[in-house]
Amino acid sequence: MELTRYILRRMVLSAFVVLGVTFLVFIVAQVVPSDPAALYAGPRPTAEQIEKARQELNLDAPLIQRFAGFAKAMGTGDFGVSYKSRRLIAEDLRAYLPATLELAVFSTGLALLIGIPLGVLAAARQGKWPDRLGSFGSIAAVAMPTFFLAMILQLVFAQWLGILPLSGRLSREISVTAPLSMMTGFNLIDALLAGRLDAFGDALKHLILPALTLASYPAGVAMRLTRSAMIEILERRHVTAARALGLSEPRILFGHALPNAMGPALTVIGLSFAYALTGAVLVEIIFAWPGLGRYVSEAILAKDFPVIAAVTMVVTICYVVMNLLIDIAQALVDPRVALS
């Protein structure tokens, strides 16, 4: 009951946030730039072309009316046409969004898989060398510029060791010779659905470096949050009680203390996902990953505002939904959350 009310409240708040986000994107994309009509009309427009564009874009209407139109379009998934390519943005998104989501989900998983066990280990060996090494590693991971880390990983794993591909999402042998039919847009899943183990392995290999780049910062944060949460939890009475009940130390660490640290872990999922979505802008350029990040960075250079606005909207909504899910999960994991 408390839980249902809590979830409903979170959902209403999220809806308000999405409305606010839409408004902000509208302002930044349609009001701040000097003259959208000139951009829309193409290079070296004549006065007539600009006037025609003004009418097409409905730029002379009152602001509130324009916003209503914009919000309605966004709500129905009608993102308009790219100024530059004149293609339907919605169609482009359908191709690029899964690529970015695949990267984001994979790197989030990687961040948790690396960060949480290291945090538990550091807490269990507090003050000893695994703790010190881990703590320094996490600080370094947080301070590392994403784009620089990407280049180092490329240099080491692709150029020197040659064990992972330099860039791209699939090898030419797969994408050209025997392409995957697009079902979900997630290559890993599509490959499995088609029973193509070769494509699956190839897609996985291409995922590792960009995902690792995006995972380093959240993994560092995950480690630090897990460590401090675990240190606090390990001093609680119920841990002493569990010891007095004769439970084994690994069981206490992972079975009893870690579930209490799920709050921070879930926080990290949100953070990591957000980081992956935005870091994608940098990482996708470097790894030639055909996703939203590369799409938007090209749009930035071309001042293609409908594309920029659409990507910002879609990514932000992904992020808001993700945060909503995390809040709900947090309430499910720790029933006390819903009460406060």
């Binding site: 902000l24 600080i139 301070a143 280049m151 180092i152 944060v221 953070l271 930035i300 910002t312």
Partner: protein, 279 residues
């Protein structure tokens, strides 16, 4: 000195020294840089893309300019970036947080829900959107990052004020009929200011990292002004054959961000702070 080491520990002290050195280098750039002209941007095509040598310690870029001088001049941009982003963000965030926390009620509700909208964006993405709308350039990129940064200070200031608001001396001032504005400026601002200033000083690191990401995307300072992020990007075309072009500015960004991070850690050790997202 020994007392400093005692308080910050060795890593923290080294980090502080690195940061102070950096400030010094930024101020004295024309005198420390081996080739001040090239640092400012004058090409030297004859020596283009030379590898590190006694003459050019960190090699040269595609226009033959000395990397070391470029990096030294880049210090100025990076530090002012970091400092201005934090300052602008404080300028917006502090009043919002103070008002929300002090007045409470619908003012608090309205201001904080507005803040939530800004926090709903993945930070770098909003900065990119802003920077794209404003166009590239030094001030524009700073404004773009500040827009994503201030909500944190608004939240921080608000939570500090919530504690202070019910302190007896604030209560007393209110009962004595002192005006709201005066109470805020006299009693609340000084007490919130301190923790916020410490936080802000430490945020210069992450702020500069975000600004570097923007300029890597071509949304920062325009060439020929030297800027680390933009240099890493320019060097990508020659990577890894001419590794020094991208690697030296990249490493510099890393070291500077690391120094701020380590110093922050040393200061927080006994306060128990929280981590935060940035690019």
């Amino acid at each position: 000195m020994t007392r400093l080491v005692q308080r910050l520990g060795w890593p923290g002290t080294i980090a502080l020294v690195v940061i102070l050195l950096l400030v010094l280098v930024a101020v004295l750039a024309p005198w420390v840089a081996p080739y001040p002209q090239q640092g400012v941007g004058v090409p030297n095509v004859a020596a283009k893309l030379s590898s590190p040598s006694a003459q050019y310690w960190l090699g040269t870029d595609h226009l033959g300019r000395d990397m070391l001088s470029r990096i030294i001049y880049g210090t100025r941009i990076s530090l002012t970036n970091g400092v201005l982003i934090v300052a602008f963000s404080l300028l917006i965030g502090l009043p919002v947080g103070l008002a929300a926390g002090y007045f409470g009620g619908w003012i608090d509700e309205a201001l904080m829900r507005g803040t939530d909208v800004f926090l709903a964006f993945p930070a770098l993405l909003l900065a990119v959107l802003m920077a794209a709308a404003l166009g590239p350039g030094f001030l524009n990129s700073i404004i773009a990052v500040s827009v994503t940064w201030w909500p944190w200070y608004a939240r921080l200031a608000r939570s500090e004020v919530l504690v202070l608001r019910n302190q007896p001396y604030v209560e007393a001032a209110r009962l004595a009929g002192v005006s709201h504005g005066r109470i805020i400026i006299r009693h609340i601002l000084p007490a919130t200011g301190r923790p916020l200033t410490v936080q802000a000083a430490l945020d210069v690191g992450p702020a500069l990292l975000t600004a570097a990401a923007l300029s890597f995307l071509g949304l920062g300072v325009l060439p020929p002004t030297a800027d680390w992020g933009q240099m890493v990007d320019a060097g990508r075309k020659f990577f890894p054959a001419r590794w020094w072009y991208s690697a030296t500015p990249g490493l510099t960004i890393f070291i500077v961000a690391l120094a701020f991070s380590v110093l922050g850690d040393a200061l927080r050790e006994r306060k128990g702070g929280t981590a935060r997202a940035s690019a």
